[in-house]
Every structure is written in C-alpha cells, then in structure tokens.
Amino acid sequence: METISTDVAIIGAGGAGLRAAIALAETDPTLRIALISKVYPMRSHTCAAEGGAAGVIKPDDSFDMHFDDTVGGGDWLSDQDCVEYFIHEAPKELLQLEHWGCPWNREADGSVAVRPFGGMKKKRTWFAADKSGFHILHTLFQTSLQFPSITRYDEYYALDLLVDDGRCQGVTAMEMRSGELRQFHAKAVIIAGGGAGRMFPFSTNGAIKTGDGMAMAYRAGAPLKDMEFVQYHPTGLPNTGSLLTEACRGEGGILVNKHGRRYLQDYGMGPETPVGQPQLKTMELGPRDRVSQAYWHELQKGNTVTTQWGECVLLDMRHLGEKKINERLPLVRELAEAYLGVDIVKDAVPIRPVVHYMMGGISTNTAAATPLPGLFAAGECACVSLNGANRLGSNSLVELLVFGRRAALSAIDHIQNLPTANTAALNARAEQTQQRISELFSRSDGTESMSGLRREMMDTMEKNVGIYRSEEGLQEGVSKIHELRQRYQRVILTDKSSVFNTDLFQALELGSMLDCAEAVTVGALARKESRGAHQRLDYVERDDKNFLCHTMVHHQGLDVPRVDYLDVVITKSPPGVRDYSGDHK
C-alpha cells in the first residue's frame, strides 16, 4: 500500500475543509496539506445552502443579541463559551470571504446587505441571492487553488483513522477511480465530512451526506455528541425534499393551512403580523424546530392540504411580486417550477418539513479539538455545541468558516514537538483496513442486499425518530437499528470491480449511516425530556434538572453503544423561556 506523508490531512473538502486548508496554507506555507474528499470540492453539499450566513455587521445589531438569539434558539444546550467565540469571529470570517471575492448582495452604498432570518432579533444574515452556500463554496475552492502547499486528493474515499500511541496520526483512503488503498501518515487530522441526513428517506441532503466522517471518528474512539437533535427544515418540496430557503419567509412569505389560516399564531408564535411585513423572531420568523412542530400539530388536527405528494401546508410568496422574487429568490422559483410545476409568483407552493441538519456530531471543544489527541473536526460533522438543541438558520455556514479555521490553528499547535511516529504500527493499522475491504469483496456467504438494508434503515428512522418521538417508538428504533447493524455484517457486494465501484462505496456509506443512526436512536431514547428539535410525546417539558447536559455516545463495536453525559457550559445566560410571541416585545 502506498504511503503518503503529510503534515495535516483534512477529510472533506466542503466549506469547513477548504477553510481549514487555506488557514493552514496561509499560516505556515511550509506545511504539507492533504485535502482528501470523496467528491470534487465543488460537489460538496455546502453548495446547496441557500439563505445566508449570520454575522454582526450593522450598527443596530450587537454581539449580545447574536449571543442571545443563538443560545435561546438552541434551547440552552449550546456551550456559551463556544457561542461567545463564534459570534466574535463570525463577522471577521464573512469579511474575509468578501475579500476573497464572494459576491454578497449589497446595499446601494456598496456595503454588504443583510436579510432577516428565523429566530434572529436583528437582520444579520449576509447573503448572495439564494445561492449563498454555493458562492461560499466556490469562493473558497477557487481561492484555495492559489496555494501550492494544498495537495488535493479528489475522489478518495476515507476509510479508517490511523490511531497509535493514543493519538490520531493519519487515515486510510481508497482512490475511487482505481480502487487502490493509500495510507496518509499525518501529524494531525481534521475531519470536515459533513452530516448524515441521508439516514432519513426524506431529506434536503445530497447523496453524499452519509456521515462517513462522524462514523470514522466514532469507530476510532471519539464520542458523538447530541446526535438525537435532528433538525427538520419547515419548508421542503414535498416530492424531492429540495430545500426552499428560510429566506422565503425572511423576505415575507407566509405559511397557511388548508383554511388559509396563518397557523403559526396558534403555536406561541403569534399574534399575526401584517402580510408582507415580516417581523423578526415571530410568526414565520420563528425558529425551525417550532415551525416544523407546528406542521405536525396541524397534521394531527386535519388542517393540512392533501396533495398527490402527501399532506402539506402552503408557503405563499405571491405578494412579494415577481421583481423581488427574481432578485432575492431566483433559485426557489426555479426549483418549485421545475420539480413541482408551481410558479411561486402565481401560486402558493405546497411544502412540508424535511430532515435538514444534524446539530450533533463528533464531540469537539471550542478549539475544534476532539477528545482524541491529533483529531480535530469542524462543520456539520462536528458538534462544537454552538447550535445546542436547535440550530438557527444562517449560523451553520459561518460555523464552517469559524471552526474550519480554528481547527487548522489548533492542528498547527498540536503538531509542534510531536514524538516520532511509529511507522510500523501505523502500517499495521492500515493493513487492518485492507483486510476489512478484502473481506467485504471476497464475502461469499453474504445474504443481505445493500439497498434492502438501506431502505429498512430509512423507514425506521422516519417512523421512529421523527419530529415527535415516544418511548415505544424509540425502543423499536433502537432495536431495529441494532439489528440492522448486525445484519450489515452479512451485506454482499454485487459489483466486484476495482474501478469506481459505487456499489462498494454505497455499502461503506451504509455502514457509516448505521453507526450514526444508532447514536441518534440511543441518544433520543435516553433523553427523557423535550428540548429544541428533540420532542417527546411522553416527556413534553424541558428538564433542566436532569438533562441540561450533552449526550455522549461511545462506540462499542457491534454492541449497543455506551451513553454518558457532559455538562453544558453556561457563562452568562441561565436557561430561560424561549419567547417567539410578538405581542409583548
């Protein structure tokens, strides 16, 4: 097996991975950086983010307000030292992107424009029409091309971390076009592998979001944190699950049920605000968890609209007018028109909540360091505890930047004065990966089909770990996912070819997703309270006495994972009431 020696290996070349690579290259041009990704950088799912990125820039805004919005939006499960660091770094990172050429929308005077977003008390979301993530990703990717010290390994599927002497010292990866394994010996590894939304059948996530990075760290001994918090975005297209950005509502779109009633006012987000004059932090600009939960209640009450794609509510943007829609929401118009046949200028568009984002992930601290020395993580795959129990829209794009860079700086600190690596031990670890893959290829007694297992996993997650959860459903989910993990050991490959074998990669991705799914179900079952995106029908209240803490899930091979808890860092904002009613502000 070929060995590639490098200083820092980065797994994942989306927003966080690219930001980390650039930070490394800028800080120390002598560092050798290996940027490893299973897709070409511009295919990374950062490109699908639409609405924008939050950072305090305007004179009427303040860091304190961004802090309060984030902590309250996260239902007090955010680590407040982390939030503090984040809000101060956010504008710097967004300005840095501006200097690198990101085409942010502008005010008439040439300063950057901001738009309102859900759960935010002030307009602070920087945006590039409704393709903000796309522009951020491409700006980062194109900027990265000028640094000769960044060596890209595009379409390399990362397999296992190399851990020796209690430190992470590299990773094995398969070159997808040849099927050959390589080992990367690195002084530090940064995982920026994205989320795992594809474990659900109905998701805004691209096919690549299968939690490989999370699962890799988890198997290597780093715990996954707060995995039960899965965000449903309130407004997805009911057939494809494509995202219609929160900016639809930020710009003034309204949600109505089959009676034409703006039902959010019935769920603590009223009173009704005038149509076309969105008010911050109330009604349609409530936080995602509350808005998605309101849909569930409307569904129970029979207030949803029955469409050929299932039960929906309506997102009405007609009053915005064609000019504003074309200027601010061109992608939304195209998506609804192409995939649903609805022109949002002329008709309200049916939508329903869709799995969008994982608040949980590889446990990291504010320095983007995992408990495993030498391993750092950033972006959706990490849980730095910025987002708590519910992420506010437009915080995640900034999270990529802030913690991508921070992971790079922490990695540089880590690699100073390291003891010499034990190459033989690393080679032996890499050999284990080789054997795992060979075994999968040569397995002749396999009985389980990959697509069959995948379908069962998705159905289980949808049925038992949805917007509202119960003891009974979660029990079923835990045992079913556990069973699927056992059956996965007998999965059989149909395709035994070496070149670009997507049957193999889909099987490996399924393994990652099952690991992540188990952490989600186990965490959800253990958390007997309702907080943010984790809502229990049998424990309807938030329980700060017992659950103001992070769920830490530890991998135990094929056994059920071990769960323990970590205290939430509270610095200045004691748990309070999340208030999204507009009437007493």
Binding site: R43, C47, D109
Partner: protein, 250 residues
C-alpha cells in the same frame, strides 16, 4: 387526490468496465417510474432494484452541485434536471462527451480541473487591505456586472457541448475562461493582466470559434459564449494599444 402517474421507462445506457471490457456497449433497462421524475431518479431505481453494478455520480438532486452531467439523447444535461416528461421512447444515456470514460457514466475531469487552476480564478486584489478595515465597497451595479459569470457550477456540460474542445483538447474551454472573465470584471480585482497571459492566447479565447453551444446547454444560465466574445474584444484592444499606438502598453 389523484395518485402520481407512473410510466414504464426504457433506458439505453452506455456501459464500460475497464476490468472486463475493451469497448463500451449499450445496455437496455426497463424501469417503472413516476411521470414527474428525472432521468437520475430512473437511474437510481435501476441501481437499487435491477443492476447494482451501474455507476454514475450524483449528489444534490437540485442542479447545483454539478455532479450528474451526462449525455441524454445526445445532449449534455444534468440528469437531475432532465425530466422524463420531456422524453418519449427509449432514452439514451451516455457519459459526458469529450472526457475519458473511467467507467459507465463516470468520466475523468482532470483536464478541466487543471485548466480551471491555470486561469487564476481568484481575487488578485487591486489594493490589499486588512480585514479590520471592513469590506471593499461594491455597488449593486458593480456586482451585477459579473454576477452572472459567478454562477458556474463547474458541471462541464459546456465542455461536452463544445466541438472546439472535442477537436482541440488544448483549448482552455468555456467554463474556465468564463471564470477568468468573472474575476476580471470584479471591481475588487486587479489581476486581469496576469490572467491575460493564459487567456489571450491561441489556446485561450482565440481557439473559440463561437459555436455558441456552451451557452445553449448551460444549466446555470451563465452564457460562456458571451464572456468569451467580450474577452476577445478586450484582448484585441490590448493588442491595438500595445502594437499600434506609440508608447502604448497594455
């Protein structure tokens, strides 16, 4: 509510496996699809239910990641944006033209990636300033000047459509050159002359014979043909200034 309409779709897919094949061949699949599906959905159903050995790239299913470019009935398309309702009869699916085929519908984009890098697609600042001094001011009009050209998703459909690229592989090609133009037009940028060394050359804009196919197939409405013609004009003006005006220097 009426249920979704279903339809039996016939796909003819180009297969190639370097492990076993010396040449590519077509394979026929029949799969029941919903009328509102896209070609990618049909391929995914084939892969899940009929033939797991069929290989293709895809991710976002919303025409923004650029992974799933293919030739569909001879036309370069994002398969996630090629609606079954637009096709009758057998749908012929091939890998993107003008790129080497690794396997099945998977092509090798190395040449494009290399060319993208050559055109220096990043801000070369006119005047550097620290982050602490805030943003570079840019009016909405200055933004609109280049915004269209910043929309390229690097899907390479334009390369598959461009006969010039097919015949002259040295040609830098539509998407990469358009990105150079995008940065040249950005009010924050001062790197045009540095890019001209690559762009204002035979294998740069002067290899373009203005077939215009790039703009016709672009799924992001970028209009590379327009960008390249504009660059030819600027290059010509540079040449005139340099060679015909005494003391002129481009």
């Amino acid at each position: 509510m009426t249920p979704l309409k279903e339809r039996l779709v016939q796909l003819e897919v180009l297969r190639y496996n370097p492990d076993t094949d010396t040449e590519a061949h077509f394979q026929r699949y029949e799969v029941v699809c919903q009328e509102e599906w896209v070609v990618l959905d049909a391929l995914n159903k084939v892969k899940a239910d009929i033939d797991p050995t069929l290989n293709f790239r895809w991710s976002c299913h919303m025409a923004v990641c650029g992974s799933c470019g293919m030739m569909i009935n001879g036309e370069p398309k994002l398969s996630c944006h090629a609606f079954l309702r637009s096709y009758e009869g057998v749908i012929r699916v091939e890998p993107l033209a003008h790129f080497p085929i690794e396997r099945d519908l998977v092509t090798a984009p190395d040449d494009f990636m290399e060319k993208l890098k050559r055109v220096k697609p990043y801000i070369i600042p006119k005047e550097k300033k620290p982050i602490s001094e805030g943003e570079y001011k840019q009016t909405p009009a200055q933004l609109m000047k280049f915004r269209q050209y910043s929309m390229c998703i690097n899907c390479m459909l334009c390369y598959a459509a461009c006969p010039e690229y097919g015949l002259t592989p040295d040609f830098i090609g539509p998407a990469a050159l358009t990105l150079a133009h995008r940065y040249n037009l950005d009010s924050r940028d001062g790197g045009r002359l540095a890019r001209q060394e690559v762009v204002a050359t035979h294998e740069g804009v002067w290899d373009c014979t203005f077939v215009g196919a790039c703009s016709e197939v672009c799924p992001a409405h970028v209009d590379p043909a327009s960008a390249l013609q504009q660059m030819k004009i600027t290059s010509s003006i540079d040449w005139i200034v340099e060679h015909l005006i005494p003391g002129g220097k481009s």
